[in-house]
Symmetry: C2
Subunit: 212 residues, 2 copies
């Protein structure tokens, strides 16, 4: 059986939990506590030299890293239900939305960056404002990307996919940092559609065994 | 003909220039000057609400954004020569390496983030140290990822691909910020192999019409 190394509050690990659930793939969950730096322990660095969760160990022992690369692997090896549309240009739009979160928002507001800001002398309020502004600006662009695509209810069409599994954890973080979401009705509608599904609710941070 | 909106010094735009060149796809280049905030102009925001380069306008007028999503589109529509291996697990490893740069290093050291640091009162030396440390730590992980794969000479095997087109622009930035690369022989060898190829050298920042 696959093993997923994660952390309850990691947005990137949550993405993979959603993808596994949507596709009905069983995986044993292992947890590494990011606030205790367990992802920097030598035994974990041997698995993933980046020292990051998620990491997915396959049945043959091979280890895959980076949440979107893992999701693409799951898509290629377990095509149904699909996380991406069938045609190239729509696939690119869904991937761009996912990357607008995974490359532009999340890495700039994650725990590691906020800790670095504080190490440079900024206070907690300044770190929180940094995260708030990063998320607010990034999600405003995502709202425009989703609106350009059509009516939803999900980010792209009538089923959840790679965009949605990035969006829901990012909105969760947005609320933690007090981001005003009322100007993003298209994203809120996509989130609401997702949160009717066990793939999103049962994989939520507070439902994980390592939640605090 | 496709139109690529870029900026000579944008790592993400350079990635797409390399992909287009490797695949022999013609595209008209348009430039938006990031230090003059031209990517925030209304006419460009209408193309890409993220206000980022690169953006690729297809012959039918559709606009694709996010460099890795654009590269995946080019891979799906112009499969030869391939940017990814054929099998799912090796594809995931190449994508993970690309994302280790595109999601973990580049967004944390780009011009936008460094400008925000300075707006918070940090000086230029502190901003440069932030970029230096982000790149040094991230590339050390990439060195381990490439070493785990084998002998090269490219990041993954005997032809350049998605990993290499992320690596070469990131090493270019590493040098700008004085990152010591001697402990990364596998990455330096991959860069050297790439820099024998016009797809990497003719697309370099200093060879672009908007270079300063």
């Amino acid at each position: 059986m696959m093993q997923l190394f994660g952390y309850f509050r990691s947005s990137a690990a949550w993405r993979v939990r959603i993808a596994l659930h949507l596709k009905g793939i069983a995986a044993e969950q292992q947890f590494r506590h990011l606030r205790r730096d367990e992802q920097r322990a030598p035994e974990f660095l041997a698995l993933n030299p980046q020292g990051l969760v998620p990491a997915l160990r396959l049945a043959d022992g091979a280890v895959l890293t980076q949440s979107l690369a893992i999701c693409e692997y799951l898509e290629e090896t377990h095509p149904a239900p699909p996380l991406l549309p069938a045609e190239a240009a729509p696939r690119a739009r869904v991937r761009a939305f996912a990357q607008a979160i995974a490359c532009e928002i999340h890495p700039v507001q994650n725990l590691r960056v906020l800790n670095r800001l504080k190490a440079l002398g900024l206070n907690q309020d300044q770190a929180n404002a940094w995260a708030h502004d990063t998320i607010a600006e990034g999600l405003a662009a995502c709202e425009a990307l989703a609106r350009a695509d059509g009516a939803g209810p999900f980010c792209f069409g009538d089923r959840p996919g790679l965009a949605d599994l990035c969006l829901v954890p990012q909105i969760y973080n947005a609320r933690r940092f007090g981001v005003e979401l009322n100007a993003m009705p298209r994203l809120l509608a996509a989130e609401a559609a997702c949160l009717t599904m066990p793939a999103f609710t049962e994989t939520a941070p507070e439902r994980q065994p390592d939640a605090e």
